[in-house]
């Protein structure tokens, strides 16, 4: 479809690819058409009617997001009729919206609010009956408030078409229409995997993360508590956006400085946990390969993916690596090795994980995630919640100096950093496995074939004379495809990496919200991943096993990867869950 057609928008002639919609053509011509239900690559329902335009020869106004261009098409995007209709439609949407903007979590990042401002809505002329809905806040990860829902269906399409989880849909009809679960169960009683992609798809405050900042503030204020914070790799790639930095700006130094000023006793990097994960996971892989264990081994860092496997692919549970995810490992190390070494009572320790993810909130509460009755991690907050805390504390982020993480654990490897992007865990594992299997330090460590945002990536890597076949899937729809091809015997691999979110953790459900109109121009997954790969290239240490803290941890505490102690603290188990 590379043929072009000639069209006119607002009188200006242009030539655009024949498979474009009016919306895409206009955007390329520098004309912004307001949208609400449209979300690039995810949702194209044409239901909100915000993007209506005049098309010459058409009887009524047309929705630009679904109207295909054709030879000779003439479009007007900015006529009095168009402007009036859009404003009227918006007022109708607002008339059944819980307009509590002052106390709304999405105030200032709300697309509905933005449009009301842009289109000059001065008042609501249609005061009338409002639909009543209860808030569903039972899930440890996601809160649903249908009073803020505008029925755009972006969350539904994300959940159903992209993630193939499909636990939410539109119910009833007419005035009673609502987005809900089957039989109105709370999300936590469904096979929701907590990925939170619904949250980052929502234009309003109808979906948001369960806020855990209060527990964190309370712990910081408690003089008895020794409060440790750790931050996942993807957080540094997204946090800057909350403070006006361009997407893809790594803010590692300022983030460490901000955390210190929030009052945490220690500020550590989950990347160290990632390096530890690689030590254990590479060892597990080599053991499985050499001892005829279950293959392919599949990564277990992404709690959204793990729960997806537990609900929908229970025949793959033995394929899941037994490794806990990096922040859980790191939490366990804090409450054992670190506590012992520093004479801290682990009962008084409070470990906070800052994650790009809301599924981590669920994960940290799993009964499996403890040792000796001590929770590995006590609270998980998302990148967005950290940004809120920084703002609440009056810290001027852009004025902060760049600081380092605390000692020890300040020198995580570049391999640990790229964990936050799709293919990153695979690449980190390959860097370590190649050295281990080959018996020497491999120089060429950029495994570019597993990088990038393609849904499913495959590679064969020769290591110490053995061809290791690997695959990487990002987004659960792609994971489903990959697993089905493995199940059908159409593909076989030694090692598979799966991340629940499209693009990996950088695009996680806990990351800063990007307006849908910006998503038409930039690819969030690509931009944020760049921040991680640039940090990796600039790292002095780029392989997990060369992180000197690994040497210390194993010689002083864990003995060797896969040891009894490592199994007690760093590994976990999985359970079968129902699909319904």
């Amino acid at each position: 479809m590379s043929e072009n057609v000639n069209i006119k928008i607002n009188g200006a002639a242009m030539s655009v690819p024949a498979d474009y919609t009016i919306l895409e053509a206009a955007r390329e011509a520098g004309i912004d058409i307001p949208t609400l239900c449209y979300l690039k690559d995810v949702s194209k329902t044409g239901s909100c009617r915000m993007c209506i335009v005049e098309v010459k020869g058409a009887r009524a106004l047309q929705a630009a997001c679904v109207y295909p261009v054709s030879e000779g098409l003439e479009v007007m995007t900015n006529t009095p009729k168009v402007r009036e209709q859009r404003k009227l439609t918006l007022e109708l949407l607002l008339s059944n919206h819980d307009r509590k903007c002052l106390s709304c979590i999405r105030s200032k990042s709300c697309e509905l609010q933005d449009l009301a401002d842009e289109l000059g809505v001065e008042g609501i002329s249609f005061e009338g009956e409002m639909t009543e809905h209860d808030i569903d806040n039972v899930s440890p990860s996601i809160v649903r408030d249908n009073k803020k829902c505008i029925l755009c269906r972006r969350c539904v399409n994300m959940c159903k078409d992209v993630q193939t989880v499909a636990v939410i849909d539109t119910m009833e009809r007419g005035f009673k229409t609502r987005v809900s679960t089957a039989f109105e169960k709370p999300l936590s009683d469904t096979a929701c995997v907590n990925c939170g992609q619904c949250i980052v798809s929502c234009p309003t405050g109808a979906l948001y993360e369960k806020d855990n900042t209060k527990e964190v503030w309370d712990a910081i204020a408690d003089p008895e508590k020794y409060v440790i914070v750790q931050t996942a790799p993807a957080v540094r790639a997204g946090l800057g956006e909350e403070f006006g930095y361009p997407m893809g700006t790594p803010v590692t130094g300022k983030m460490a400085a901000a955390l210190r000023r929030l009052g945490f006793d220690k500020t550590f990097d989950t990347d160290t946990g990632a390096d530890l994960t690689i030590m254990e996971e590479a060892n597990e892989l080599i053991e499985r390969v050499q001892n005829g264990g279950k293959l392919p081994m599949i990564t277990s860092c992404s709690p959204g993916w793990v729960k997806f496997c537990e609900h929908y692919f229970t025949d793959f549970l033995d394929n899941l690596s037994s490794c806990k995810s990096p922040h859980q490992m790191f939490g366990a190390v804090m409450k054992s090795y670190y506590a012992e070494k520093n004479g801290i009572d682990p009962k008084n320790m409070f470990v906070v994980s800052v994650m790009p993810c809301v599924a981590k909130k669920f994960e940290s509460g799993r009964p499996e995630m403890e040792a000796d009755k001590l929770r590995d991690v006590d609270a998980v907050i998302s990148t967005r919640e950290l940004a809120r805390m920084i703002k609440q504390a009056g810290i001027m982020f852009d004025k902060l100096p760049d600081e380092e993480f605390d000692v020890p654990f300040e020198r995580a490897s570049g391999a640990g950093v790229i964990f936050g992007a799709t293919g990153g865990v695979m690449e980190a594992a390959l860097r370590t496995a190649a050295d281990t299997l080959g018996g020497k330090s491999v120089e060429d460590i950029d495994y570019t074939e597993v990088r990038g945002i393609e849904g499913i990536k495959e590679a064969t890597v020769n290591m110490g004379g053995m061809d290791v076949k690997v695959a990487v899937a990002n987004g659960l729809g792609n994971a489903r495809k990959l697993l089905e091809s493995i199940r059908d015997g159409k593909a076989d691999y030694h090692f598979v990496e799966i991340m629940a979110c499209p693009g990996g953790c950088v695009n996680g459900g806990g990351q800063p919200i990007v307006p849908s109109r910006d998503k038409m121009d930039v690819d969030v997954r690509v931009q944020r991943a760049k921040a991680l790969y640039s940090e990796d290239v600039n790292s002095k240490i780029r392989k997990s096993h060369e992180n000197p803290d690994m040497e210390i941890l194993y010689s002083e505490y864990f003995e060797k990867p896969g040891s009894h102690k490592a199994h007690e603290l760093l590994h976990t188990t999985y359970i079968k869950r129902n699909k319904y």
């Binding site: 159903k160 939410i168 119910m171 089957a182 319904y580």
Partner: protein, 158 residues
């Protein structure tokens, strides 16, 4: 809403046949739901789950369809299904008040069934007995020219 599911093995076997017959058709969900309602009389979670599993369609999507179309029912019909006509003639003659009175007496809403499974309540469109307005039906029996005060005694007969 607390009526336990009493599906039989025979009903399940029938449903499985229906699912197998439609499985590879495009748009199989609605015909299967229709036939399932024929078999069970209504579409409780147990039935919808079997259909979701059988057709490999998400349960949320099935529930969305069932709640969209008024001919699908989430609740069983009672031993004595009550229909109150809300057609124009009956409505102007006060059938709305009759409906409210029944709801009050039975403690159920339209589309629901009493806990003992005895009565279910529906608001119907015009049943073509306008001369008798306002009208309600209980099973096959038609009660016409009703007043609110008569309702309680009529229900007591069942």
């Amino acid at each position: 809403m607390a009526i336990p599911f009493k599906g039989t093995k025979e009903q399940e076997a029938k449903l499985m046949e229906v699912i197998a017959a439609h499985k590879d058709e495009k748009g199989a969900t609605i015909p299967v739901l229709h036939e399932a309602q024929e078999i069970y009389g209504y579409l409780p979670i147990e039935v919808q789950t079997m259909i979701a599993e059988g057709l490999d369609v998400p349960l949320a999507e099935i529930y969305g369809i069932v709640t969209f179309y008024t001919q699908f029912s989430l609740n069983p019909k009672g031993q004595y299904p009550i229909g109150v006509c809300l057609g124009t003639a009956c409505y102007v003659k006060g059938s709305g008040d009759i409906l409210e009175k029944i709801k009050e007496i039975l403690g159920i809403d339209v589309g629901e069934c009493t806990d003992d499974g005895k009565f279910s309540l529906d608001a119907t469109r015009c049943i073509g007995a306008c001369g008798l307005a306002p009208v309600m039906t209980i099973g096959e029996h038609v009660y016409g020219r009703l007043t609110v005060d008569e309702v309680e005694d009529i229900l007591k007969k069942y």
